[in-house]
């Protein structure tokens, strides 16, 4: 197994899938000649040509719509948003067209499209460019939402997303493109959507984390282990469909749950997980479910304030201690 970055893993997934199926094309701002704002699409224009790798104007609603139309007539578009902050402009096409077309056409039109790009916080890019929007997209029936936290997951899940016949919102993390990890060489390495993973086993408390908060949760678990608290860290990997069974079974074992997320707390994915755990495992809870979220303010620009707005290892440790009554 090669050790590569998430950036390289995504690039491999794109390249392998596009070589496998000529109906797949990639479209977005700066994806071709500039090789991607974050270099995820490096080398693809040279290898696959300008009919498959297409630069667009700064028109998110327009090229998202082009993608949906192309998907309706049989192609398999991958739409890159330079960041998911700009997908806000394209939400009409994502939500009103892509998510609903199969339903509204009575099953006539599958929309095998992937909307991908980085989301979440970056480094001091302030309020409009530091948003975790997964709960928006996960809200709508018809959309799948995927958020990898490791290079292997990034590759396996992106390949699964591209092969999926439904629209998938694939949210990478801007701070994580350089994260390294082992990735299987097998070109058929695909991770099914809707299947979470226990990233660390433990018996005293369950931490559910995704994307950037997975490494944070793992560090917190390490610190807590020294205090004799054994944490189970679960990454659902797919936000919708959500592998709630994995979470519920863990909570039944540990009796306590902390959800860690970059997004704002109100109406976040953590709220949903907490609700479902309450519905399914109420009698197993020994403490209220605790969230560690991004704080409920627009992301500050100042470095010191930005640091305070994002979940930290210390906050996760404190939350686990709280639900463990320590």
């Amino acid at each position: 197994m090669a050790v590569i970055t998430i950036r390289e893993a995504l690039n491999q997934a794109l390249r392998e899938e596009m070589l496998r199926d000529e109906n797949i094309f990639l479209m977005g701002e700066e994806v071709a000649a500039y090789q991607g704002a974050y270099k995820v699409t490096k080398g693809l224009l040279d290898e696959l040509g300008d009919k498959r790798v297409i630069d667009t104007p700064i028109t998110e609603l327009g090229f998202a719509g082009l993608g949906v139309g192309a998907a309706m007539v049989g192609l398999r578009p991958i739409i890159e948003f330079m960041t998911f902050n700009f997908s806000i402009l394209a939400t009409d096409q994502i939500i009103n067209s892509a998510a609903k077309m199969l339903y509204m056409s009575g099953g006539q039109f599958n929309i095998p499209i992937v909307f991908r790009g980085p989301g979440g916080s970056a480094y001091q890019v302030s309020s409009q460019h530091s948003q975790a929007l997964e709960s928006w997209f996960a809200y709508f029936p018809g959309l799948k939402v995927v958020m990898p936290s490791t290079p292997a997951d990034a590759k396996g899940l992106l390949k699964a997303s591209i092969r999926d016949d439904d629209p998938v919102v694939f949210i990478e993390q801007e701070r994580m493109y350089g994260f390294k990890g082992e990735v299987p060489d097998d070109p058929e390495f695909v991770i099914p959507l809707g299947v979470g993973e226990i990233k660390r086993e433990g018996g005293d408390a369950t931490i559910v984390a995704r994307s950037l908060t997975v490494p944070i949760a793992l560090k917190a678990a390490e610190a807590l282990e020294k205090d004799g608290v054994s944490c189970e860290v679960i990454d659902p990997r797919t936000i919708r469909p959500l592998d709630i069974d994995l979470i519920v079974n863990s909570v039944k074992k540990t009796n306590r749950l902390v959800v860690v997320e970059e997004s704002h707390p109100f109406c976040g994915v953590g709220s949903e997980i907490s609700m479902q755990v309450t519905e399914r495992a109420f009698d197993y809870l020994d403490a209220p479910v605790k969230r560690v979220s991004g704080v409920d303010v627009p992301m500050p620009y100042a470095k010191n304030l930005e640091d305070l707005a994002i979940p930290t290892v210390d906050r996760v440790v404190a939350a686990v201690r709280e639900v463990s009554y320590l």
Partner: protein
């Protein structure tokens, strides 16, 4: 001129109203038509409008209290107007809950009229404990008369039959949590057990859980006792890996019953049971069929020289099989005495391990429960177990005549690795022969 604010009729059937929330506090300026308070009627929460203008001088009933229609509940007047005459004639309000708040006719002037709504239940919600009398039990984790318990702790306590009022909560605000209940269960003093009606659940199931049509049955889980855990562990090592097969035979018991009656008539103190005779006959048959008095070992089949017969005894929360060692060499009276002694001590959990471990064959008798026939699960490593049903009178054909005989079914479960079908059948044949003609015991 002061305006008397009275409890208005807000629904056709309303007889009294509960003051849900004051929208103005004493000293506030109000004008005619402005919302003054929210009133809970028998139907809904309604807004009450001010019917005069001025300053809300006096609030006479507090949030959460009730008043009948027409009762004076507040006074609107000029800032300097003397309202004492009006205020004095006000009737006391009727508290909604057991009185813990101040009497309504004397509202403390400092007390903010618009106390936060959320605080109200905590202040007044004292469930009927009997006229405000303090219950004698300790209630460390109560808040406003309610036990604060985590759902898990509540479930654990309900399952263990632990009275949570005896538990000191170590969680925030005295919340009773898992470890508190665990501590109590592990140190389980009998005094901590409570009558079922005191059990507390996070989700109160009601006096009796009703079956919901079309829904799977409700259920409750009980923690596994050590004995149950051992039974489970041992028995799944049985039916799973052991290839069981079953042989059933019907036995005419008249002579055995006759013999029992005869012996008991001679020796009333002996209280010989049919089961004692069955044990003795089985032991005799086993000696004639050593292939059945055997167990499968990893690399060998072990044949036993004597019939060490385990006798399944039901005890509270499980069963245990004390052993009659060398039953083949013991007399019926010895067997009867030993069985009684072992069974008594089994029920009192006084058996030593060697008294219930290492039988060569077992007998399980459910006849006293009216079971006609059943199959038992082999207790490894034994090679077989005999399941004995009830003796019942039945019409049978003897010499072309229908006659009534005492019939009994026995089913032997065999470990096929040790015992083959014919081997088992021959043993049962012998067993049947002896039991039907117990004289063979002395032949």
């Amino acid at each position: 001129m002061a305006t008397q604010v009275i409890m208005p009729k807000l629904s056709p059937t309303m007889e009294e109203g509960q003051l849900s929330r004051w929208l103005k506090k004493e000293g506030d300026t109000v004008s005619m038509g402005e919302p003054l308070a929210e009133i809970d009627t028998d139907k809904a929460t309604m807004e009450m409008q001010a019917l005069g203008s001025g300053v809300l001088r006096k609030i006479l009933i507090q949030e959460g209290e009730s008043a009948p229609l027409g009762q004076l509940i507040a006074i609107i007047g000029e800032p300097d107007e003397d309202i004492s005459a009006l205020a004095n004639q006000a009737a006391p309000a009727k508290p909604a809950e057991v009185a813990t708040s101040a009497p309504a006719s004397e509202p403390a002037a400092e007390e903010p009229a618009e106390a936060p709504r959320d605080a109200a239940p905590a202040k007044t919600a004292e469930p009927a404990q009997g006229d405000g009398q303090q219950p004698s039990e300790p209630k460390p984790a109560e808040s406003g008369g309610r036990l604060i318990v985590s759902p898990l702790a509540a479930r654990m306590a309900a399952e263990a039959g632990v009275d949570l009022r005896a538990v000191t909560g170590s969680g925030p605000g005295g919340r009773i949590i898992k470890r508190d209940v665990e501590g109590l269960i592990s140190g389980a003093a009998p005094a901590a057990k409570a009558a079922p009606q005191h059990q507390l659940r996070a989700v109160e199931p009601g006096a009796r859980r009703q079956a919901v049509p079309g829904q799977p049955s409700t259920y409750h889980d009980e923690p596994i006792s050590e004995m149950r855990r051992t039974i489970a562990k041992r028995l799944v090592t049985s039916l799973g890996p052991i290839p069981h097969f079953f042989l059933t035979v019907e036995i005419e018991m008249d002579r055995a019953a006759e013999m029992r009656a005869g012996i008991n008539a001679l020796e009333p103190d002996l209280k010989l049971s049919l089961n004692d005779i069955i044990i003795k006959c089985a032991a005799a048959a086993l000696l004639q069929h050593p292939q059945v008095n055997a167990s499968f070992q990893d690399k060998a089949v072990r044949y036993y020289d004597h019939a060490d017969i385990g006798v399944a005894v039901a005890i509270e929360d499980g069963l245990i099989t004390p052993i009659i060692r060398a039953a083949d060499q013991k007399s019926l009276s010895e067997i009867a005495g030993e069985v009684r002694d072992l069974a008594d001590r089994a029920r009192n959990r006084k058996l030593r391990p060697e008294e219930y471990m290492g039988a060569s064959f077992s007998i399980s008798n459910l006849g006293m429960f009216g079971i006609d026939e059943f199959t038992a699960v082999i207790n490894p490593p034994e090679g077989a177990i005999l399941a004995v049903g009830a003796m019942t009178p039945k019409p049978v054909v003897r010499d072309n005549q229908v006659v009534v005989r005492q019939m009994m079914h026995v089913t032997m479960s065999c470990d096929h690795r040790v015992i083959d079908g014919a081997t088992g059948a021959k043993f049962l044949q012998t067993f049947k022969k002896i039991l039907e003609n117990p004289l063979f015991l002395v032949v």
